[in-house]
Symmetry: C2
Subunit: 417 residues, 2 copies
C-alpha cells in the first residue's frame, strides 16, 4: 500500500481524495498496489467534512510520518507551497502538483532536487487540467524533435471569447457571465491578462526544448482590448480570434508569446470553444498532433494528479531524468524581433485620405470589407504584410499622428501556421 | 547502450531506423541511454540500401544475439509476425509493434507471455499512427473509469469521405484518387470495409475496459454504400457523415460498432478531415478528451514505435502489469439489441402514398428537406425515433414490399453523444 498526503483541501485537493476514493479498485489494479490517502492538510477546518477522518492542520503529521511516500501539493502560489515541496522532496517523498506558478518559477531547482533525492516531481495537472499533455510530451513524443507548440491554454478567456463570438456579447458582459457561472474568479486578472496561459506555455516549452524557459521573458497580452467589431472582421476573413499561446524553437533560442490571434476557421484550434483547452504539438516525425479537453475543473484536474500518483506507484524508485538547465542568457527572443503580420482597425475622419496614408506607410496591405461589402464609413480595417514586429509597430505608431485617423482601435496578430 | 533489431523493412520498419538515426542525440538523452539499431531483418534484399550495414535476411542473427534486448516487429499479419513475437518474448526480449492485426487477434496471449517473461509488449503505433493514445489511455487516464470511446480511426476512408463532402466526388472517384495519392492500397478492402478501424477499436476497448474485446464480435460496416445524396441530406441537417468506431461500457458487457454515422458539425470529430484521425475518450473524472493527428504514415507511426522503445529503456525491468482477461462469454452486445436512430432515404414511385406508409410504419418521424426545401420528388428522406436496432430493421425491411417505394437507397445511424 502506498500512503498519500494531500496538502491543500481546495477544489483540486478535495477532488484528488474524491477520485481516489471513488475509483479505488480500478486505480489500485492499474497501479499494481493500493493507493490510500492518509492525510489531508489545510489551515481551514475540515473536521466536519467528508474528509474529517484524514484531516489535520499540522503539516508535521505528514513530514514526521515515514509511511507517507507521496505528497500532493495543491496549495498554490510560491510561498508555503514552495517550502513544503522542498521539504517533501528532501525527505525522499515523491511530489505531485497542479501548481503551475511554482513549476514555472522554481521548476529547475525542484526537478534537480527530485533527481538528487531519487524521487519524482510530477505536474501533469499544471497544464491543460485533465488533458494528458505533459506525459505525452515527455514520453509519447520523445522520438521527435519538437518544433513548436500552439495552444488555447486558458478556459476562462476562451469561454469569454466564445460568448463574444457566438452571442455578440461585449467583453465586460461576457466576463460578468463567466464570473456568474464560476468560470472566472472574482479577481480575473491572471486569466484575462494572459498570465495563466503564460506560465503554462513556459512549462510546455521547458519540457519540449529540454531547457528552462522563464515565463517572465515571455511577451504576454490579454484579451481585455478585444472588441466585437474586431471579431466581425475576423469572421469576414473566415477566421476567429483566440487567446493563443505559442512557442517555437529557433536555433539556440525560443520564440514564445501569449496574445490574441486571428486564426483560420480551418485551424484545428478554431473549433475549441467554451472552457475547453487544446494544445497542438509539432514534431519532426509526428507532424501535428492535438490534445483537447477540459482545461480546468475539479475532477479533470484531480484525474491528472491521480494519473501522476499511479505512475509513481508503478515505477517506484525510478526518478525522472529530465531537469531543465537554466541558460546563462535570456533564451527567449524579444517579440519585437520576430516576424508577424497584423490585422489593424482604425477609426477615421476622412476615409480616402486615411486609406492613402495607410498604403503609403505600410506598402502593400489588404483592406477588409465586412459581409456585403459595407464597412462603416468611419473605419478602415486592413492586414499588413509580414515584417519584423518592431518595424510594424513603428508604422502603427505613425498612424497616431495623422489627421485623417482618429484612433487605432484594434491591433491583432495573425497566427498562420 | 540498448541494441534494437527491426523485423520487417517496410514503410514503418525503415521509418523506425530513420527516426532513431536522425534524432539519436535527443532520443538517447530522453531515454537515459544510447539506443542503437543493430539489425534490420527482411526477406527482401536491402544490402544496397541505406540500411545495408545492418541488413540481414536471417532472423537467427537476431535471436542468437544476446546483446539485442528490444525487437521491433513491423512485419504485419498474424503468421510469421506471431511466431517471431513469441520467440522474442520467450527469449526475454521486449517487443514493440505497429501490428494491429496481431494485437487484436492474439493480444491476451502475447501480453501474458510478456508478463510471464518480465518484458514488455508495447503497441502504441498500432492505433492512431503517431497520435499518442494507447499510453494516455493506460497511464494518463488511469484515474478514470472509461465510459466510452468514439473515434475516426482510419485515414483512408476519412480522406475519401472528405473528398466526397468537400469536392462532390462520388465514392469510386474519391477512392481512385486516394489510391493515386498513396492514401489507399491497391486492394483497399481492409480500409473501406471498416476492418482496419474494427481492429483498432477492439484494441482501444480492451485497454479501456481491461478485458479482451474480440474484433470478430464487433459489428462492422464500411463506406462503400455511401452516396452524395446522403451527404447532402446530412449537410441540410447541420451534420456530416464519418466512418465512426464507437465503444461503450455497459455493465459487464461492451457495445462496439464500426459504421458510417451522421454526426453534428459541432461534434469534436466533425472537423477531422483528410487523412487525420481523432479519438474522443470519455472518462468519469476527465469528462471528454480528444487526441488528434496523423493516423498513418511512415514517420508518425515510426515516432510512436520509438516512443515505446524509449519507454522500455527508461524503465528497464519493469513489465507492464496489464493483461487482457478473456471472458468465457461473448462480451460484445449484438448490434441488434442496441438502441439507435436511423436516417433513411427511399426512392419512391408515389410520394404521398410512401409518406403515409412511412408514418404508419415508423410512427413519429421527421422528414428532411434539402436546402431551399426542394427535395427531388422521387425520393424521401427521414429520421426515425430511437429504438432497438432490430425493431427498426424490421420496419426498414417492410418498406421493401411496398408498391409506392422503389428502393431503400440509404440507411445511416446517427451518433448523438
Amino acid at each position: 500500500m502506498v500512503n498519500v498526503a494531500v496538502l491543500g483541501g481546495g477544489v483540486v485537493g478535495s477532488g484528488v481524495v474524491d477520485v481516489i476514493r471513488k475509483n479505488c479498485f480500478s486505480i489500485s489494479q492499474r497501479a499494481g498496489e493500493e493507493i490510500y490517502v492518509k492525510k489531508l492538510v489545510d489551515i481551514r477546518d475540515f473536521s466536519d467534512s467528508a474528509y474529517g477522518d484524514i484531516y489535520t492542520d499540522n503539516p508535521d503529521e505528514v513530514f514526521n510520518d515515514s509511511s507517507i511516500g507521496v505528497v500532493v501539493e495543491t496549495i498554490g502560489g510560491i510561498g508555503v507551497a514552495y517550502e513544503f515541496t522542498k521539504r517533501a522532496l528532501q525527505t525522499g517523498r515523491h511530489v505531485v502538483t497542479s501548481n503551475k506558478e511554482l513549476v514555472a518559477t522554481h521548476g529547475p531547482e525542484l526537478l534537480k532536487m527530485a533527481r538528487d533525492n531519487r524521487v519524482n516531481y510530477l505536474f501533469e495537472a499544471s497544464v491543460g487540467g485533465g488533458i494528458p499533455i505533459i506525459r505525452p510530451l515527455n514520453q509519447c513524443l520523445a522520438a521527435n524533435e519538437i518544433h513548436g507548440i500552439t495552444g488555447i491554454l486558458n478556459g476562462t478567456t476562451n469561454y469569454i471569447l466564445t460568448q463574444m463570438k457566438n452571442r455578440g456579447k461585449d467583453f465586460d458582459t461576457a466576463l460578468k457571465e463567466a464570473q456568474r457561472n464560476g468560470y472566472a474568479e472574482a479577481d480575473p486578472t491572471a486569466d484575462i491578462e494572459g498570465h495563466d496561459a503564460c506560465r503554462k506555455i513556459a512549462i510546455l516549452s521547458s519540457i519540449a526544448y529540454n531547457e528552462f524557459v522563464d515565463y517572465r521573458n515571455i511577451h504576454t497580452e490579454g484579451i481585455t482590448k478585444l472588441t466585437l467589431p474586431d471579431m466581425r472582421y475576423a469572421d469576414a476573413l473566415g477566421c476567429v480570434i483566440k487567446l493563443v499561446a505559442i512557442s517555437k524553437k529557433a536555433g539556440d533560442m525560443v520564440y514564445a508569446r501569449v496574445s490574441p490571434a486571428i486564426i483560420s476557421k480551418t485551424h484545428p484550434l478554431a473549433n475549441v470553444e467554451d472552457v475547453f483547452n487544446a494544445i497542438v504539438v509539432k514534431g519532426d516525425a509526428i507532424g501535428e498532433a492535438m490534445f483537447y479537453g477540459r482545461g480546468a475543473g475539479k475532477l479533470p484536474t484531480a484525474s491528472a494528479v491521480v494519473a501522476d500518483i499511479i505512475d509513481i506507484v508503478k515505477h517506484t524508485g525510478i526518478s525522472a531524468r529530465n531537469v531543465w538547465p537554466r541558460r546563462d542568457y535570456n533564451n527567449v527572443i524579444p517579440v519585437e524581433d520576430m516576424e508577424t503580420r497584423f490585422f489593424i482597425r482604425v477609426l477615421v475622419r476622412n476615409c480616402d485620405e486615411a486609406r492613402r496614408y495607410i498604403i503609403k506607410n505600410f506598402g502593400e496591405v489588404s483592406f477588409i470589407s465586412l459581409d456585403g461589402g459595407r464597412a462603416p464609413d468611419n473605419e478602415l480595417a486592413f492586414s499588413t504584410r509580414k515584417d519584423k514586429e518592431k518595424n510594424l509597430r513603428a508604422k502603427i505608431d505613425s498612424l497616431k499622428g495623422i489627421g485623417s485617423i482618429k484612433q487605432v482601435a484594434g491591433v491583432i496578430r495573425y497566427e498562420e501556421e
